[in-house]
């Protein structure tokens, strides 16, 4: 028997037990209006990038830790240490941009081709939900690396919610998990990003695809021969989809290799000089925010985006003519073009504003320099025990002044030895330590540790007790 006949036999065996072959023609024999085209690839490309995001996202979870004290270190570990980590993170990072670009193209095409009209209203509504979910993914994912831009960017994003009248501050508290952006906020965003949104988006995508199968592809608005010339999905459309997805994959892979995803230094809430900027696709909203103040701030944050999506959502229920040619639907087409122009215009103005302000442009350049510098510094593992102790018992002021230089802020050891677990060792009782600090040479520490003879008696007591508490 040839390999081929073995495969066929195996296939038949599986089909006998699953009936899978009866499902396949559903996909294979899908009729493509006007024949296979490159302009029909966007939906499948979105599905492809979503699967890629799921896959790389699951891999990132292998090392990522969603707490404010470890998140940044674990991301730095993935980016700098783990082999192929920069690729996985890069694909995930740039994949989010690809997702936004593709969702906009898919959306725009459906809109211009009038493919949302009768019979496809629900398909269109689920599509809008998917669009919003994609934006939700990028908003929640932005915080997870816990670097400077994650922290400050999210801070602004969440503050926007607080501008909603009456319930705004309550919503903000719920989103933050308290009054500050903290490790609790990170947990919330993490759970929404990796559990809640994927579930909703996964189910919605399935509904979207089922509705699409039921309604059949609308096809391009034009070409009189749409009815005459049809072609099945397999093989040509399948081939074109595969080509386009591979292209996206190669682009994402190359960018990840040649322009590693950025990682700035760990979030430092006390940094007063940091200038927060959102991801490029949120720039139009960000720019719009500059033009309104006081109560009017609700316009760019809630009312305008809310209005746009509401109008889009109810569109198929009002626009009921079957005409699909965008040139014969002037109102829709003009409004859409203006909206698109406004969005691109705002994006450009946002960039120009930053470029033309000498102070801002200098600081932004500096920040990107700092990010590059951080990315090139070798990875440093995080000493975990020292951290836990630092959080439970605060070191006495005299320790920071006299000892921390050599033994580290939490006694973790720098030039001088680690001071933890000293009570396991002989000749390190409370009194021994006091004597050691006064005269290290008595304890065999010749020429290493200086003698501290001029401290107050209470300082010796405090130092010794604190050091012995380090376990």
């Amino acid at each position: 028997m040839s390999i081929h006949s073995h495969l066929v036999a195996t296939g038949n065996w599986i089909d006998d037990r699953t009936g899978i072959k009866s499902l396949l023609p559903r996909v294979q024999e899908e009729e493509i209006p006007g024949g296979a085209k490159f302009s029909y690839v966007f939906g499948s490309a979105l599905l492809f990038v979503f699967v890629l995001q799921l896959f790389t996202g699951i891999l990132l979870l292998l090392y990522y830790v969603p707490t404010s004290d470890h998140a940044h270190t674990s991301v730095a570990y993935i980016q700098k240490e783990v082999l192929c980590g920069a690729i996985i993170r890069g694909i995930h990072h740039y994949g989010s941009s690809a997702m936004v670009i593709l969702v906009v193209l898919h959306f725009l095409q459906t809109f211009l081709w009038g493919a949302y009209k009768k019979k496809r209203e629900l398909l269109w509504l689920v599509g809008i939900l998917l669009f919003l979910l994609v934006l939700g993914f990028s908003f929640t994912g932005y915080l997870l690396p816990w670097d400077q831009k994650a922290y400050f960017g999210t801070k602004v994003g969440v503050s926007i919610m607080s501008t909603i009248p009456i319930i705004g501050s309550t919503i903000e508290r719920i989103v933050l998990g308290g009054s500050n952006l903290s490790t609790l906020t990170l947990s919330r965003f993490f759970v929404i990003h990796v559990v809640v949104l994927p579930l909703i988006l996964g189910i919605s995508s399935i509904v979207h695809i089922l509705l699409f199968w039921y309604a059949k592809p609308a096809g391009a608005y034009t070409s009189k021969n749409l009815e005459e010339k049809t072609e099945t999905f397999y093989p040509k459309q399948f081939f074109l989809n595969a080509v386009f997805s591979s292209l996206i994959f190669i682009v994402l892979l190359s960018i990840s290799l040649y322009m590693p995803a950025s990682l700035e230094p760990q979030a430092n809430p006390a940094d007063v000089n940091y200038i927060a900027r959102p991801e490029w696709y949120f720039l139009p909203l960000f720019q719009l925010l500059k033009y309104f103040n006081g109560r009017l701030v609700l316009l760019p944050t809630m009312i305008i985006p809310g209005l746009i999506f509401t109008v889009l959502g109810v569109l198929p229920f009002f626009d009921r003519k079957q005409e699909r040619n965008p040139f014969k639907r002037p109102i829709c087409s003009v409004i859409a073009s203006l909206l698109l122009l406004a969005i691109i215009g705002l994006m450009v103005i946002a960039k120009l504003d930053d470029k033309n302000d000498p102070l801002v442009s200098k600081r932004l350049a500096q920040q990107s320099e700092e990010a590059k510098e951080f990315l090139h510094k070798p990875f440093v593992a995080q000493s975990v025990n020292a951290q836990t102790i630092a959080q439970t018992t605060k070191s006495p002021a005299i320790y920071i002044e006299k000892c921390a230089g050599c033994h580290g802020n939490s006694g973790e050891g720098v030039i001088g030895p680690n001071l933890h677990n000293l009570n396991n060792k002989p000749k390190r009782t409370h009194n021994d330590l006091i004597n050691l600090i006064k005269k290290p040479s008595d304890f065999g520490l010749n020429n290493v540790m200086p003698a501290f003879t001029d401290l107050k008696e209470k300082d010796y007591e405090d130092l010794s007790s604190w050091i012995l508490s380090l376990n």
């Binding site: 570990y77 996985i88 072609e231 397999y234 593992a381």
Partner: protein
């Protein structure tokens, strides 16, 4: 769909289908290799920094006669985390003769204690003599000895872990 199923169209069908599958296969292959390396990194390529320096147990005169359990503090790097843990060792002293044994059972890694007048692992009931030689039980070898030296009148040891279940003592890398 055109309903004719002529020879040339059939071969064109399968050609495009196979080509499309090759494109997708390429993505799968690249992602497979990349994620395989990424996921197994700590097992094969990761730097696990081990602390093999000499650790001071204490002054020689503070080491009691007989069998005493001491703990040493081991700093290890595991992935992004550097952590220290306490490990137990047995120090057997008979006058000037000192031996140091790891308290990790060479069988399955439980902790070795003293029971009566011998060493024992209470997980699977292995027993060793005072000099670490095997008496009974499932253990494949004697207790693992650890390097020690006397420096400046201090007893110092080098803590190491060894592979379980082998008849020879093989350091874990």
């Amino acid at each position: 769909m055109s309903t004719t199923n002529s020879e040339p169209q059939n071969s064109r069908r399968s050609f495009l289908g196979i080509l499309g599958a090759i494109f997708l296969g390429f993505i799968g292959l690249v992602m497979g290799v990349v994620s395989g390396i990424y996921a197994t990194f700590p097992a094969f390529f990761g730097k696990s920094k081990k602390d093999l320096s000499w650790q001071t147990i204490g002054k020689l005169e503070q080491i009691p006669e007989g069998f005493t359990q001491f703990t040493v503090n081991i700093t290890e790097q595991n992935g992004w985390q550097e952590s220290s843990s306490c490990q137990a060792v047995w120090i057997a002293r008979k006058g000037q003769q000192i031996d140091v044994y790891s308290a990790v059972c060479p069988h399955e890694g439980c902790t070795v204690t003293r029971q009566g007048d011998c060493f024992a692992c209470l997980c699977h009931m292995s027993k060793w003599q005072d000099d670490g030689a095997k008496i009974s039980g499932p253990t494949p070898r004697s207790l693992d000895t650890l390097d020690h030296r006397v420096n400046n009148n201090n007893l110092e040891i080098k803590y190491e872990s060894f592979t379980h279940g082998l008849e020879q003592k093989v350091p874990l890398t």
